[in-house]
């Protein structure tokens, strides 16, 4: 049985999103929560990349030996890839900020437990 690679990719993206939301909401360890959030962001990025996939398509770089018609018909859609690149940069920045905050809070509280550190102190 041949499994459609785009469908599998969508399924993986969906799984990452669901696992990420579950970890962020229900796990107590702050590092695990952050890993869950990274899963969520990666799942969304994979979803966008999968949308840009074109079976049998070519890379969206216009080479000298190509005609405009051939390029327009066969090139995969570049916009999702450009968006994901930006999204990865944003994800890395927010991840760094979250980990930085966790390092400070871990030093103060001697724990990585969200219920102990955050409790009602953050509100």
């Amino acid at each position: 049985m041949v499994i459609d690679s785009q469908l599998m990719s969508f399924f993986t993206a969906g799984s990452l999103i669901v696992i990420g939301i579950f970890a962020a909401l229900f796990l107590d360890n702050l590092i695990k929560k952050i890993i869950g959030l990274a899963f969520l962001a990666d799942g969304v990025n994979l979803f966008i990349i999968t949308m840009g996939y074109k079976a049998g398509g070519i890379v969206y770089i216009f080479m000298p030996n190509m005609t405009i018609s051939n390029f327009a018909q066969n090139a995969s859609y570049p916009l999702p890839f450009a968006l994901v690149l930006t999204s990865i940069v944003i994800g890395a920045s927010t991840l760094a900020v979250m980990l930085g905050l966790v390092i400070v809070l871990n030093k103060r509280h001697g724990s990585l437990s969200a219920s102990k550190i955050l409790g009602d102190k953050g509100e």
Binding site: L79, M98, V104, K121
Partner: protein, 497 residues
């Protein structure tokens, strides 16, 4: 092409980056920050209306020299009409909103630089980055660009909380970031669904695709995109269920920081709310959902404000409650209702900033925000007390101040829309707002000073008083001449109906 439109975003970012490197150069930081902050509202006033295409990428239909060489595969399709690059739109409504945002930023930066012993380049960096992000959100016609600045604004807000040095600020910052990292990717997922269906991230082009039947406007993916973008809107604005964390964010920032943070929330709410209406107003329950969420924000925000003993937290909840009025205006969906909602947004941003800076003077003199420990502040500086009292009157909608006009318009709009019950709720909640404010005012200013309350000798900086007077003048002018604001907002409102 209008280059000044892009400068409104580029200038604060460039200044922010430059200020970040000026560590320990206090005088340079002060001069550069104040000059840039002063230029920003001026820029909003002098920039001509129009559209800015980043990279000069106009739609092919508008650039026939490129279009004529392309194959029929492209020229015979809608691709010819679409925008290939990021587009910023600047009209009278954006002018007013960005002017008010930048004016609040200027006064907040002006106050912060004089209230702190040593001006911080990093703190100014965060304030400018936040201002640039919200300006971009207001200008952008590209929903992915909006997402990028949504994330930058969230990071700037976290930085402003961390920089405050207030107890438990790191905890609040982490909580806000964790929630932001759920809301952000879900917003992006909503954008991805729209991209997948329409092949576009330009809002005008997405609307074109929806209205011209290029995609099924009632497909489940569109409805899911609506839900996900609404979730991002609720996070950015601090609408329920994010009202608690948003009010905590305000209370963990310094007063001038909180003044700016609440402006970020108000204008994010307006910008994303307008996008929701532009794209999804044809779906019957969109407006109902906006009204429902806004009602919840009003009721929860204002009722939770009553029980607070920290005046910054009380103001935070009142600010969330006032957001509900804006949402009701947008949700009514009539041109008059939307104009009233946008006018309320302008007023609320000004009044809440006024209140944060005004009550901030109490914190400056006593180092406490706990109303149980405060009292007798009226006799320390009666003029400041009067200014704060007037700010509270403005928030409650007492005539002839500005929020009276916008709240009156909102009540009229709800009556015109056949929803008088909304008008009644708004009146009742305005009374509760007034009572909440008066209770806090009496406790802090009018009751006898507690014996153990220490009032510091430090003099309130003149910049703080000037900022409060400027806010009061704007409140009076907009109260007496509301058409100065509403005339600018009507065109946008009419276009959304």
């Amino acid at each position: 092409m209008n280059e000044l439109i892009a400068v409104m975003v580029i200038l604060p970012i460039a200044s922010a980056l430059f200020l970040n490197f000026l560590h320990e150069k206090d005088r340079t930081i002060k001069i550069l920050a104040i000059v840039t902050a002063f230029v920003l509202p001026v820029l909003a006033l002098i920039a001509p209306f129009g559209t800015h295409y980043f990279g000069g990428y106009v739609p092919l239909a508008q650039n026939m020299t490129i279009g004529q060489d392309l194959p029929a595969l492209i020229t015979n399709t809608q691709l010819f009409q679409f925008h290939p690059g990021i587009v910023y739109i600047f009209n009278s409504a954006q002018q007013l909103l960005i002017f008010v945002l930048c004016l609040i930023a200027f006064l907040a930066i002006f106050t912060s630089l004089n209230e702190t012993k040593r001006p911080s380049g990093v703190y100014a960096f965060l304030m400018f980055m936040g201002t640039a992000s919200i300006s971009a959100i207001l200008l952008s016609d590209d929903i992915f660009n909006l997402f990028v600045f949504f994330e930058i604004a969230a990071l700037a807000q976290v930085g402003i909380i961390v920089a405050s040095g207030i107890k438990n600020n790191y905890e609040t910052a982490l909580k806000y970031t964790l929630l932001g990292n759920i809301a952000g990717p879900l917003l992006l997922l909503g954008i991805a669904l729209l991209l997948g269906l329409t092949g576009n991230v330009n809002i005008t082009d997405i609307i074109y695709s929806l209205k011209h039947g290029l995609v099924n406007p009632y497909s489940p993916a569109i409805l899911m995109a609506l839900g996900l973008i609404t979730f991002g809107w609720m996070y950015a604005s601090g609408l329920p269920p994010f009202h608690t964390i948003k009010s905590a964010v305000y209370s963990k920032a310094l007063p001038h920081g909180a003044a700016l943070l609440q402006a970020f929330s108000v204008f994010s709410m307006v910008a994303i709310g307008i996008i929701l209406l532009r794209m999804f107003s044809y779906i019957p329950f969109t407006k109902t959902a906006i009204i429902g969420i806004s009602l919840l924000a009003m009721v929860l925000g204002i009722t939770m404000a009553i029980v607070q003993t920290d005046f910054k937290r009380m103001l935070g909840f009142l600010a969330v409650g006032e957001l509900g009025y804006i949402g009701i205006g947008l949700g009514l969906g009539t041109a008059f209702g939307i104009t009233a909602g946008l006018f309320q947004a302008v007023n609320e941003a000004i009044i809440t900033a006024f209140l944060f800076i005004g009550f901030g003077t109490v914190l400056y003199k006593t180092r406490t925000a706990d109303t149980r420990k405060l009292g007798g502040m009226m006799f320390v500086n009666p003029r400041l007390a009067l200014l704060v009292l007037l700010a509270g009157f403005a928030m409650a909608g007492v005539p002839p101040l500005n929020a009276f006009q916008s709240k009156l318009m909102l009540i009229q709009a709800s009556l015109q829309s056949g929803l008088p019950e909304l008008g009644i709720i708004m009146i009742l909640l305005s009374i509760v707002t007034f009572m909440t404010f008066m209770k806090a005012f009496y406790t802090i200013y009018m009751r006898p000073k507690p014996a153990d309350l220490k009032i510091l000798d430090n003099k309130i900086p003149r910049s703080t008083i000037i900022s409060m007077v400027v806010f009061l003048i704007i409140c009076v002018i907009l109260g007496l001449f509301p058409q100065l604001a509403t005339n600018s907002l009507q065109t946008l409102a009419a276009g959304l109906v």
